[in-house]
Symmetry: C2
Subunit: 450 residues, 2 copies
């Protein structure tokens, strides 16, 4: 995480590049420390200073007045398919197989190209930054375009090239699938401080054992994250038990692909033994609450995962199945759903939800030093608006962030010390151009969408 | 619904007061008709004209360019306790009885006054209008202050004075509870075209049979809506069965208080017989999805209510239990939750959710001519922002409104033909003053909250 080149180096006169004052500062971490009337100093790509009333901050080149609003760590979206924003709303309210086979797969086969992947990724990245997400884990095809879009946007990304055992966008020959992914990881290793390349096997039912093992080996050789959808639907688990004699997660375990560099996505139907397997392996999990609700997939065993110590984050999933990329909404939905599912309103509280969407998610992705606003941690910072009735009064800023805020309440965002959103406007991308491009492509895809 | 006095009468030269052009017009109604490249004309407090490409609209004094964005009927919030925004986030992640008895009831007993009720109501009304809600059904105490706040805000309100069989804010003597409510209805009958007075008995467990019957009689005599919480928690139903030998809804039915002028709030634990009772009685139901999730109350039998033809709307519930008043979020949460609960992603689709949050809710509240954008219907109109990545592309504007939008995507709002929000700014209330007042009161209530 070197300092981005656009930032001037700090000087002895101004040890801080940016100082955010009048902050209702949510420092994060498992205990979610809050500093009222706080301030936060950024130097380079790191938080360099935090303090409360009575603490004199060092001088700073730029001072930003949060006007008493909530300031919190940038949010981590632990699972997405960024380019699929081009298919947002193309088809909804359908059974999963009809949605996938009759709408999404045909649209992908027909319309995916480097051009459309870039356009869809930029559209999603604009949405993410504007709604306070500073790190996203993506899994898709033409992933070079996604990674380049992330660099343009100035967002942190774990970008994973997709692997399927049938012809895929950009990888027509399945025999090349693992090599294409490994080559992607090689191309992006060390290329940008913002992009961490990775490999994304779609699922145990679309990737055979040899592919899974080869892809995991390639990821392991490069020290890269290996991610995979598993146990998303009841049908998938039933089929796996019938064909393989074990659950998808037990199958992955038996192939040796679960370890601390693996991210299992969904895990909705993980049973107690699966949770044990995950915990012992060190693998992380991305829980996708809103998508799992909309597709009627089920409820992930989040309290069990947390009790077992599985590193867990929250993912929006792709914008064709959610249909928005608002990690604030994911926090609120996740806390509410698990209270409902357990019948216990003390289950999955606001602090837990915020942890999952910050440091917890970063840990699940294998990223360290990310997700708290403490000196030495990454300067990924979100400042909420001070003038929103839904964020007033402020008895508890963590409750506000989880239960009352939406991504549209975000005012300023920094990623790695660089301001990327100011007063609700993107500084890194031309939003109007991105919207126009997406609308133009949508006319081709759906015949409408202007 | 007379024309508000602030509107000049239309003249023969300008048959329309306002014409909204370049609209992706969601007309509403059960079939949810959509007009692309549409326009909508307002005259007085009604929609006077709608049309698509090739239709020449009449001249208008003011033309508003929606820039291709979604235009939809103003949303109806079928259940709220507006003044409780002052207690938003005061206590969360607690069991219902601890939350109520240790935090909310003591705070209400100590701090409710005409002053605080006005401040809390204005804060909530600002939030509602800014997020596209144009009609709210409230139930609380010091309801004159709530009704006055609604008139100031320029929002439609069904305002219901609370009734409890113990000392209540503003009604220290329970023997006066029904008379106080009846007097409130009398005072507000015909007083404002925006305010429909009503009576709110808190619940069957806080109001005895005599109170319920007397309150219903008073409401009936005045032609006013009678609303009541019922079957919110499993414990409430169990207690009712034990003490009264019947469910809360069967109990209300046996007292004769269920009819087409009754709104039952929550109905989470309504069983099949209760649903039948509701359907035969003509009573409406307000479903409060997010609140019922957060308090771990349960899942209302929405598909059953709809199949039985029960007039049903969506309520946010109060801002201390939700904790936001965003009917867009309620639509999305409701559709997602019932897909999940039924295991069927085709259950409760986007069109159904939008209907519940517009015409369906209005019907449940006993309001007619409200919730569609068709000539002759109320000119309660919401225009979304054209520049939001989460609302792009626009294959299906209903899907966008339900699954991708949040209240913060609202750009313009009209209530009864009067513009109340322009470019995301309130035209009717001084937001800065309202926020400052709420913060000042919060310091007294919570010792913090600046």
């Amino acid at each position: 995480m070197d300092q981005p080149p656009t930032l001037a180096a700090s000087s002895p006169d101004f040890p801080l590049d940016t100082l955010i004052v009048n902050a209702l500062l949510v420092a994060g971490g498992p205990e979610c420390r809050v500093i009222r009337d706080g301030a936060l100093g950024i130097q380079g790509d790191r938080v360099a200073w935090t303090g409360g009333p009575g603490h004199q901050p060092p001088p700073a080149r730029v001072v930003v007045d949060a006007q008493g609003a909530v300031v919190l760590p940038g949010l981590v979206n632990a699972h997405c398919h960024l380019p699929m924003s081009l298919f947002r709303g193309l088809a909804d309210d359908l059974a999963l197989d009809a949605w996938l086979n009759e709408h999404i797969f045909p649209a992908e086969a027909r319309f995916l190209s480097p051009e459309t992947v870039t356009a869809g990724a930029l559209l999603s990245l604009a949405e993410l930054l504007l709604s306070g997400c500073t790190t996203v884990c993506d899994g898709y095809f033409f992933e070079d375009q996604v990674a380049e879009a992330a660099v343009l946007a100035g967002i942190r990304a774990v970008a994973a090239q997709g692997v399927l055992d049938f012809p895929a966008p950009g990888v027509p020959d399945p025999r090349e699938n693992v090599r294409a992914a490994a080559d992607f990881v090689t191309r992006w290793s060390g290329r940008s401080p913002l992009v961490t390349p990775a490999i994304f096997c779609h699922s145990p039912y679309t990737c055979g054992p040899d592919t899974l093992k080869a892809a995991k080996r390639a990821a392991g050789d490069a020290g890269a994250l290996f991610q995979i959808h598993a146990a998303e639907t009841r049908g998938e688990v039933e089929q796996s038990r019938k064909i393989l004699g074990k659950t998808p997660i037990a199958h992955l375990h038996s192939l040796g692909v679960l370890d601390a560099q693996t991210l299992v996505v969904h895990a909705v139907w993980a049973d107690e033994r699966d949770v044990e397997i995950l915990a012992r392996s060190g693998a992380g999990v991305a829980v996708c609450t809103a998508s799992n609700m909309k597709l009627a997939s089920g409820i992930a065993p989040l309290p069990g995962l947390l009790a077992a110590g599985v590193p867990t984050g929250l993912g929006t999933d792709g914008p064709a199945s959610n249909n928005r990329l608002d990690v604030f909404s994911e926090m609120g939905a996740t806390a509410r759903l698990h209270k409902l599912a357990t019948g216990d309103p003390t289950a999955v509280g606001a602090k837990t939800a915020l942890f999952l969407a910050t440091e917890g998610g970063a840990t699940a992705l294998g990223l360290t030093g990310l997700g708290r606003l403490e000196p030495g941690w990454a300067a990924d910072v979100v400042v909420l608006r001070p003038d929103r009735p839904n964020l007033t009064p402020a008895y508890d800023p963590v409750s506000l962030a989880v239960y009352a805020a939406s991504g549209a309440d975000v005012r300023h965002v920094w990623v790695a010390g660089r301001q990327v959103v100011e007063e609700g406007r993107l500084l890194t991308l031309e939003l109007a151009e991105i919207l126009a491009k997406a609308r133009s492509l949508a006319k081709r895809i759906g015949g409408r969408g202007a």
